[in-house]
Amino acid sequence: MQALRYARATSIDEAVRMLREGGETARVLAGGTDVIVQARERRRVIDLFVDIKHIPEVMALEYDPQHGLRVGAAVPLYRVYGDANVQRVYPALRAAAHVIGGKAIQGRASLGGNLSNASPAADSIPAMMALDGVAEIAGPNGRREMRVDEFCTGPGRNALQPGEFIVALRFPQPAPHSGQAWERFIPRNEMDIAVVNAACALTLAGDTVTAARVTIGAVAPTTIMVPAAVEALVGRRLTDDTIAAAGTAAKDAATPIDDMRGTVRQRKHLADVLVQRVVRAAAERARGN
């Protein structure tokens, strides 16, 4: 491994200072499941790890029905999917967190790391975008917030400025009669990178969709929202035809590439199928809420 220093931050201000002083070659160390391998394989020039796991706020998970859910950026995934409130109120987030890597990855990996790493196939990002997530960011100029759907700017790139890092991710309390779902397609049963993933959150009034958010991943340089699918759903009764129209909108919005995991044709087809599935599953849950 390249020469590498390690620093343990115990407060947000200290982490910001360490990151600023470290400059371009300093990196946040959360669960390390992406960044340690990147440093070892010299895919990134990194000479300082700033460990944020000893900052209490970054490791806290809080929920209340008024303010919704706030997950510290470095909370390991086993705590996210193991949380009773996450299971009950945010099942799409629970589903994604539960299948990222295997158990040994989930012992360390975090939502903040999954988002910051900005892989086009990252599994939690479609869920966090569908749930209207907001990243709370700390940096040299104090705190600011950014919507998760504006955070990734390209494969491996995000909108953070030098010295900034994510402190926590926040998700609003879902409206009454809302439901949500997340799915991915991989050729194995577990432990693989998504060929396509998708999420949906929607609200029903009777059988009519009053609000929806639809996202797909691994079909573009970043996870994308699908406004045309939302248009196909909102204001309409949830019939097989409207659900099919949402799937077709996702297929049209997808601009995937051919690679070892899948072809353009397969990925477009999967975008269609997975969006139909998450819409159905979200609606099913909305009827129960």
């Binding site: 360490m18 470290g22 499941t33 460990d51 295997g102 158990k103 040994a104 990855i105």
Partner: protein, 162 residues
């Protein structure tokens, strides 16, 4: 502040408090093998995919190739070397041996630690739950069935003892 080069790390390894020297670039896998001579921790892929390096860190399963040695200051680490009791092998070890759940053995320490973490959380898993839990451990030799059977046999023994 940031430390580079040599580090002095104090952590509880298999129940004993140990203080040792490491390099700030060492992974936990490298520190366990090279600094503490715990050669039961295996390197397979060195990138998080195979589980051969799995250890239990503060009660949770991790791949030691994806943890920096410097991160374990003040923590508790359990490796396969701490599994057997003074008198006998751990039921998991005994059942792996008796059930021929290993051939070359390179994956075995990782499977044992992973299975230990599983049974601590879920003493009576279904076969499907065992397979899901062990999905992060790869074995090129056994074809997995004997491993699943050995974990279930050990789980049964451990339940009977309680």
């Amino acid at each position: 502040m940031a430390t580079s080069g040599r580090l002095v790390i104090t952590a509880t390894i298999n129940g004993d408090e140990r203080t040792f020297l490491a390099d700030s670039r060492d992974s936990l896998l490298e520190a366990l093998r090279e600094r503490l001579n715990l050669k039961g921790v295996k390197e397979g892929c060195n990138n998080g995919n195979c589980g051969a390096c799995a250890v239990i860190l503060d009660g949770h399963l991790v791949n030691s190739c994806c943890v920096m040695a410097a991160e374990i200051e003040g923590s508790r680490v359990e490796t396969v070397e701490g599994l057997a009791g003074p008198e006998a092998l751990h039921p998991l070890q005994q059942c792996f041996l008796e059930g021929a759940a290993l051939q070359c053995g390179i994956c075995t320490p990782g499977f044992l630690m992973s299975a230990k973490a599983l049974l601590a959380e879920n003493p009576a898993p279904t076969d499907e739950e065992v397979r899901f839990w062990l999905a992060g451990n790869l074995c090129r030799c056994t074809g997995y069935d004997k491993i699943i059977e050995a974990v279930q046999a050990a789980a049964e023994q451990m339940r009977a003892r309680k």
